[in-house]
Every structure is written in structure tokens, then in C-alpha cells.
Amino acid sequence: MSTRLSKGGRLIDRSKPLSFRFNGAPMRGFAGDSLAAALLANGQVLLGRSFKYHRPRGLIASGAEEPNALVNLGRNARVEPDQRVTTTELFDGLEAASQNHWPSLDFDIGAINNTFGKLFPAGFYYKTFMFPQIAWKYLFEPVIRRAAGLGTAAKEADPDRYEQAYAYCDVLVAGGGVAGLAAALAEAKAGKRVIVMEQTPFWGGRAPVDGGTIEGLAPAEWIDRTLDLLATYPNVQLMTRTMVAGLHNHGYAICYERVADHTPGDGRPRHRLWRVRAGVTVAATGAIERPLAFAGNDVPGVMLASAVRDYIVNWAVSPGDRVVIVTNNDDAYRTALAVLDAGLTVEAVVDARERAGGDLPQLVRARGVRVMEGRGIAGVMGHKAVTHVQVCSQAGEGGVTETLECDCVAMSGGWSPVVHIFSHVGGKLLWDEAGAMFRPDATRAPTGPDGSVLARAVGAANGHLTLDAIAAEAGLSAEVEPEAPLAPVWVMPAGAGQALRFKAFLDYQNDVKVSDVELAAREGYTSVEHTKRYTTLGMASDQGKLSNINGLAILSDSLGQPIPTTGTTTFRPPYTPISFGAMAGEARGDLFQPMRRTAMQDWHEAKGYHWEPVGFWRRPYCYPRGAESHRDAVNREITNARTNVGLLDASTLGKILVKGPDAGKFLDMMYTNMMSTLPVGKCRYGLMCNENGFLSDDGVVVRLSDDSWLCHTTSGGADRIHAHMEDWLQCEWWDWKVYTANLTEQYAQIAVVGPKARKLLEKLGGMDVSKEALPFMTWAEGTLAGFPVRVYRISFSGELSYEIAVPANMGAALWEALNTAGEEFGAMPYGTEALHVMRAEKGFIMIGDETDGTVIPQDLGLNWAISKKKADYLGKRAQERSFMVSPDRWRLVGLETLDGSVLPDGVYAVAEGNNANGQRNTQGRVTSSYYSPTLKKGIAMGLVLHGPERMGEILDFPADKGAVIKARIVDPCFYDKEGEKADA
């Protein structure tokens, strides 16, 4: 049973008691407690159930590596699953609940999986849920999905605030222990801009717990002195509660600051994501102790030796009164000393080495503790808490020589440097035989943009596991008890049989045991990356911080090869999970993405428009009146534009000015048509292709003057086409004298569309808009109602139509003027859907509907817009390729259903027979389909095999639920084929 000690606890403030709840039960802690320490102090050893077998689990570690003790933190909208209690600071009113059990933590039905554990070996899912295929959808997947996952996510929006920040430095130090602070000081003295980030709330790392002296001072004193010194440097920034989560290319570090997790509701952002660009990153990230793989090493009460002394020294929490220590190294004897200093009992130190004769073991022996050499643990007794351990010979098969009563087992299998930051960007590791660990290879460090070293490791992260070695690397002096070499122990006892290996856990969070890795090796998994995925070793939210080295050592042993040959799995950011909130930052709600507004946006919003996203624009889809449905509104808007006059906000159309002596030559390359010969004052519809020959954009090109053209693009295409033009101008024809400018937002543009359009403009007055003065496909400048305008006689609707451009700041006023003056003519605004239907009635193509990146203009019957005279244009050579000139390409036609219904968009026309995959052959597909209120029936366009040669033929379009819709191939132009209306 764990409890709070009456004395000590270097991190807690006993004058500040805090209350919190675990599974509803009230508990008490102190300021400075981690939730883990506070739970242990309240005697809560059992903290959760394991993922697969639902085994009872307690704390193993005291820091970020903890795999078991994950809880649901908070409640309602603030509930957050899978929070490690070891890295959760206690605050008053904290609420936590254990996970993965039903109905309760103490009594969990799912634990039945444990009884049948032998039925769930490595690869269980892959082997079992194979056949029949249909069962995946209806049986296996629903059941597995229900059983999967640990915690429960909040169902409401996150009420907290998150933010992101940038920082730049010469040196980023990850880790605020002795090595990190020493490195920071050295860099600060050299005048470098330094940022030091410590993931916990406390500076100093392990040194204050582990003892020794630095420069003659106790570690805590040296740390305080160094921090004071660092604070005097203006070029140093010190940050606690901030983790370097990942290091990326060219020194880009993602860092995670937990600003207000411990002070919820104080108005500060909860998390802050830092994007730091660092010249050099120093990984001073310490090392993580490894568990030992013995049977029952997951029973609550079995902990890492370092964690046991952390809880005692840092938080005055006793994990148990009677402690058995099991180790393969000298460091764990420090735990024995800490336990003894706290007035508790060390039942024995079980040392796997033949001989434990170092200074530390002698110190422990001198205090009357029994040291059992050459011994291991054969088993742990107890279900929800340790009651006994069985001791055996480490060299043997597990024959029990003695049973020791205890309520805590402190284990140590040696230490693994935290090499993550060094490895994230490609730093290579080497195997250190003496320490039985991988450590960074400084000769193969990651490099930056100039080829210099991007990251280096110092201290324990660099394999220097003792204080004197850490200090020596930093050029400091230190004294600490010397340590005798460890003996690598990957399975305990060495000759453990299947029964023991089946209970020896490697990955606690994913319930992967020694036997699973060995099975994978027997089944042919020789790559560590494959074994990881097959067994799920190291794939839980702790990412194998405790399990990876043990697991690959066992794999190596099974494969009969040395550990460095097996190698490690890839270390990937983030080091520990970071919140989605931090990743999203302020990019939510209105700030999720930028919004582009036309000059008339306020008017649209005031009219209660229904909008659709077009790029970053929100274009009016339609303007419903009262209770009118969207469909009815669209139909009304179309009919009105066809009979009276409609107004469209066309401001989003791309407008690119192309100017210069070579502008005409340049546009002849950009467009399939001849633009250089377009007379000043005229407009011409143009097509743009890419070098692959595929149609990429279209729009009306206007010749403004001798050396200037204005190119209209699609609403979504302006930036892309402008970039496309610049690409060719800068990278291919850089000697051509041409300038481009994207003027899209400089002008507001309004389409005035319908038989009464001219009357409306005449009422505004100021310029001659008659057929004679301003014929179809021309433009003129002048004034309308006093506004300086440029008027284009172009039509995308088939009606008499004027597109009027004004400087953007006058757009709203002109729009207002047109609406007001238009009342007597029945003017109404119309939206994008009406625009789409009207263009489809005319058989005009829409980029993105009729085109999909595989369609050439010739497919769309647009040969008339392709110059035969030009020697070259972008896409011309590509369009000469054999499959581009094939008569078997699907080509554009109109489609008219026999029953007048609307074809579903995108449906295919079937042909006889099946293809090689047993699917029905096809001979065409629908590219646009609408209800036409003008024709009072469904109309469609589609690409059909030999389409234009098959007028009148009837095609079958299978739709939902076995229905087949029959449609006749017709001309794509359904309305005013002669074009008299637009030309009126």
C-alpha cells in the first residue's frame, strides 16, 4: 500500500493542500504534486486496465515514459482522454477517471480476455478476421471498433483557447537538467541566442534525486546558481512546461508549451505551439530506465527503480513499505538507499549479476540489506497489487528458491538515452556494448542547410549516464559514487520457459509480451519495423519508450543476430502526444481560413444569401425569398434573367493584365487561340492548356490597347493562372518584354443579364450601350450613373448581357444603383447556381465540370477556338500524340432523358459486356446535369464515345437501386441555338 510520508518531498508545498477526485472519490494532495504522486499518496495503486487483456495496471514510471497510468481528465467539454498522470500537475478541483474497464476499475468484465490470453497472440487480428470477406463490414469491424481505444473523447467543442508562436535562436536546448543548463551557459557566454526548454515544471532533471556534487555543490544548489546566472544573460530564454516535440529539416523544431493545464480557467491559452527555427539543437533529454522482462512485471506495485526513488524524494510518497529491488546494475542501489532514508524497508536487492561488489552495493549492504547475487525473479504474486515475489537463479529456468513478501518491486534493466530529438532528422545511432544501449553517433549527426551539424546530444542523452561523466563532458567537475558495469538482461531468468515468457510484458500499453516478439520471429518477421507493426510493440501512445530496446534485443536473440544488426525502429515526432488544440491554434471558426470578400459581400449577407465556397470566396448560390426553397429560388432567378433582367456579382472572376511589347506573342503561347490579332476594343473567348495538352482554364480576353490585354480567368483559377504565366515568363521566355499583374481584387464586376439589360443601363445613363455602339464581343469605357466603368458585351448565359467593371471601392454603390434602378424592369440578383444552369442550357462548358485534367479542348468540340495557324502554343505538341488524336476519345454531347427527369451528376453510360475486373463496360459519363426551368425538364452534358456522331441514339445510365435512366444524345446547346438573344 502506498502512502504519503510525514517528512520530505522536495517539490511539494505542504502548506498548500489541494483536493481532487479520482473516479468520483475525494482525495487530497499538495501543490507541487504530479497527479501520479497524489494518487499514490492516497493509496491508489490500481489506476487502469490494459488495452488488450484488461489486466489491472498501476504506475511504472514517474515521467513522460509512463505507459499505464492514463486517465480521462476533466469533464464535459473539457474531458481529455489518455492523459498521463505522471505529467499532469495537480490543481485544486482536478477530476480524473480511469479508462478501459466496465463496469468499474475494480471489477472489469473485459478482464475475461486475460483468461483467454493464449488465444490472442501476436497477429491475432490478421490471422483471425480473414473470412468471409463480408463479415468484415458487418461483424468484425463493428465489434473491434467498439473494443478499441482507451479513453472517451469530449463530444462538445473545446472551450479552451490555443495559440501558436514563432521563435528564432542560434541554440535550442531541449532539457533543463545538468547537461542542458551547462550547455546553455556555455553557449550564452559565447554570445549565442539561446532558448532552453524543460518539459516538466522543474529544473534540474534527475540530479537532485540521484545525488553527488557538482563543482563542490549539491546538485540542487548548482542548478539554482546556474539558473540565476543564466537569468542575467539577455540572450537566454528559459521555458519550463515546454517540450521540444520534434526536430525537423533545417532546424525547424515544434515545441509544445503547456501554459495553463495546471491553472484551468485563468484566461491564458491552454497550450502554445512554438515553431522554433534553431541553428543547432542540443538534445539534453536525459535517459529512460528500462524495465526487466520477468513474469508478472506488470502487476501494480512493480515500478522502475528510478520512479520509486523519485516518488520518495520528490513528493514524499512511499510506493510501498516493503520493497524488493531487482536490478542488473549499480544505479538501482540508489533506490535502496532512498527507501532506507525514508525509514522504509528493503526486503532484498535481487541482482542478476554474478557479483555485486561496487561501492553502491557495499553501501547498501552496510545498512543491513541482503543483496542476492546471480538471482532473478521467477514470478510476482498478487493480482491488483504485489504481495510476494519468487526469487530464482538468473541463469536457470525459474525454479523458485525463495519467496519474499513485499508490496513494491523496484526494477532496473539499465538505461536508454533519449535519442529522439537527435534521430528525428536523420542522426544515426551506435550500439554501446558497455552500457547495452544505443547512443547518438556524433560523427553521423544530422546536418543543416549549410552542411554543418544540426543537432548534438549531451549528458545522459549522449550516453553519459553518471553525474561525473555528464559534468566532464561539459567541462565541470563532479563527484558521485562510481558504478560497476551492468550485465545486459533481456529475459529474466535467462532460461525462462514459455509459461514465464508469456507473462513477461515488454509493451505494457499494448500488452505485448516476450512470447509475442518471439512468435513473430518464428513466423518470419526479421525486420524490426515489420515486427513492430505485427506485434504492435511500441505502437501505443507512449511510442515504446520503455519497450523498444528490450523488444529488439529479444528479436535479435530470436534471430540469432547482434542487436545493432537488428537496429531500431524510426523515432518520429512528437516525443509525447501533443493536443490537437495546439496544432490547430487559432485556426478555428472564423479564423480557420482567410475569407475573400467582394465589394458587394455585405449586401449579399444582408439579403440572407445562401452561399457556396469558391476558392476563398463565399459566392451567393441563390437569394431565397421568405420561406422559398433554394431550388425554387434558383428557378425564379433563372426565369427572371431570361425574361426581365438579372444581376450577378461577377467580381470573383480572375482579371490578369498582360502588358508589354511582346504581350501578344506571349498570349499566343498561353492560349490555344490567336490573341495577338485581336483588335483593340474587342473581346475573345480563350482556352488555356498545360504542356500535357489538357484544358486548364478558360475566359474572355480583352484587348485594351496596342500593348495591353486583360485576361479573365475562372473564379477559382486567378492565382493559379497568374502563377502559370509568371512561370513561363520567368523560366522559359525571360527575354520577352511582358509584365503581368493580377488585378482581380482591383475591380468589382457586375453582370447585367437579360432582355431588359439595355433598358436598365440606359436608365442609369452616361454612355451609349446600343447594339451599334457596343456590339456583342466588344467593350467600351465611359460612365454609368456617374460611375467610371468599363463595359464588356459578353455573355455566359446566352442572354443580352453586359459585364460592368468599376474600381472595387465603387462596387457596392453601383450594385445598389443597379438594383434600385432595375426595380421597374423586375431586376433581381441571381447566384452561382442560376449561372451554372443558364450556361448549361447554352451548352457552355465549365472548367472543373466538363474538364477534370484529362480532357483536351478537342474533346469538347472547341476546335473553333484552337488556332490552326500558330506554329506553337502550350499543349499543341501534346495534342498531337496518338491517343490525343484518337477518334475513340469520349467527346461532348448533350443528354436529354426520355422521361424528362434529371440525370444524377457523374453517372456512367454502360456498354455491352464486362471488363477484366468483371465490371460493366462504359461508354460515357455525365459531366453536368440540371433541371432547366426554361425547358421545364432535365438537361445534361456528358462525354460519350463517338458522341457527336451518334446524335439521337439512346444510352442507358444505371442509377441507384437498379434503376436505369434512358437518355438521348442531343446537341449540347439547348437554348437559342442561333445565338440571337446574346447578339440582340
Binding site: H248, N249, H250, Y252, R277, G426, T447, G448, P449, D450, G451, E691, N692, A723, E726, D727, Q730, C731, E732, W734, A871, D872, K876, R877, A878, E880, R881
Partner: protein, 107 residues
């Protein structure tokens, strides 16, 4: 995330300010070229493990295209230079040769 220095405006820009434009120094083949030449121009790319010449645009900066020589293995940037050229500058080639003795050259 890479950082590249735009030779046009001199800004050392983050990758998010830049647009990648694939391999540099392609020779355009238009009408009159053979199918093989056109295929090569349109589709066949070097994709080297090591020194690579590529196009970048400082899209959210000065808007200019430029060229960069970069190692696809170590991400070392040997240099950036104007896009208005048909071959890498001689000094840059010399620098790369010095750094990468086994390099076979840019063509």
C-alpha cells in the same frame, strides 16, 4: 521544413513561403519534336539520390522563380541562383564538386 534564400530579394524563406517547381534546366520540346524527345521533356525526370537541381518560387514573397541545388539525402543547399539561365553557374558546380567528390555532374 526547408529554408532557402531567394536570390532575387535576398530573403531566407521558410518552405511554407515557397512553392516547389520540380526539376530545373529542362529543355522544352514543342511541335516538330519526336515522340521520344517530347516524352523525355514531359515525363522523364532524374530523381537523383544526392545533388539535385530544382525550381522554387518565392510565392508568398517577391513572387519570383529561382533555382536551387540541394542534396536530396542530407538536404544541404549548395546554392540558389537566378531562374534566367540554362545551366548552373560555374562557381556553384565547382563548389558542389568540392563537397561531393563522386558527383557525376548536373547533366
Amino acid at each position: 521544413m526547408l529554408t532557402l534564400t531567394c536570390p532575387c530579394c535576398g530573403v531566407t524563406a521558410e518552405e511554407t513561403e515557397l512553392t516547389y517547381g520540380h526539376e530545373a534546366h529542362l529543355k522544352r520540346f514543342g511541335p516538330g519534336s519526336t515522340d521520344a524527345e517530347f516524352e523525355d521533356y514531359l515525363f522523364n525526370r532524374k530523381n537523383p539520390k544526392g545533388v539535385h537541381f530544382e525550381r522554387w518560387r518565392h510565392s508568398y514573397g517577391c513572387g519570383k522563380w529561382f533555382l536551387a541545388a540541394r542534396s536530396t539525402v542530407t538536404l544541404e543547399v549548395y546554392g540558389t541562383y537566378s531562374a534566367q539561365t540554362t545551366e548552373p553557374p560555374a562557381e556553384l558546380i565547382a563548389k558542389i564538386k568540392e563537397k561531393c567528390p563522386g558527383w557525376e555532374g548536373w547533366q
